[in-house]
Amino acid sequence: MIRLQREDFDPGIELASLGEGNPVIGGICTFVGLVRDCSAAGPVTAMTLEHYPGMTEKELARIEAEARARWPIEDVLIIHRHGRLLPGERIVLVATASAHRQAAFDACQFLIDWLKTRAPFWKREEGPAGARWVEARAEDDDAAARWREDDRKE
């Protein structure tokens, strides 16, 4: 399931329904990304996430489909916020449920790696020196490149 929203979410409530009652599930891996009070460019007092309505949902659906094609996943949840957020606030949640823990871990990491480089979100940080658009990081490209297009396990 994919959700795009301005408001905060409660990971406990969201995870409670992930794969609920599916006795095949042996492991659930979750990643939650938070706004830090400091980035590569300096102190951060707030962050605004802009996105491309329409394409964002489609791209997240493509990323979910790709993860399901690569790993035996029983359930997936992606929640991404947009709008203005303060340090300590949740930005994103990615969770995967699978019979096996390695698949859950790999699929969860794949989802966040691909999401960071493919889903049309842009961060604008506010700091003491004004606002600046966050630059894409080479590390994120490298992380996404670990999961090559032709690497499907099927």
């Binding site: 480089t117 493919r118 979100f121």
Partner: protein, 83 residues
């Protein structure tokens, strides 16, 4: 066709969306960019370096050779920084 701009591309061009009607010779992303650069100084600056700008046609990421046609939704934006 409808052209959308996001993040600093939007700021430099000064609008988030415009309807444009390029001549028929504008058949792909590359030629559309060349044509858009002539619309204003902001367009010229924002679209000067295609290595720094990504393109989507009808909400799907594409390269500079991808065809464009009237009725398409074309978007220009920097590399993504979500998550």
């Amino acid at each position: 066709m409808k052209v959308l701009y996001f993040a600093w591309v939007r700021e430099r061009i000064g609008t988030d969306c415009e309807e444009v009607s390029p001549p028929a010779a504008v058949g792909d992303v590359g030629s559309l960019v060349a044509w858009l650069r002539n619309r204003s100084e902001g367009h010229a600056e924002a679209l000067s370096d295609l290595a720094r700008v990504r393109v989507a046609v009808n909400q799907e990421a594409v390269g500079p050779d991808h065809p464009v046609a009237s009725g398409d939704e074309i978007a220009f934006f920097p590399p993504m920084t979500g998550g």
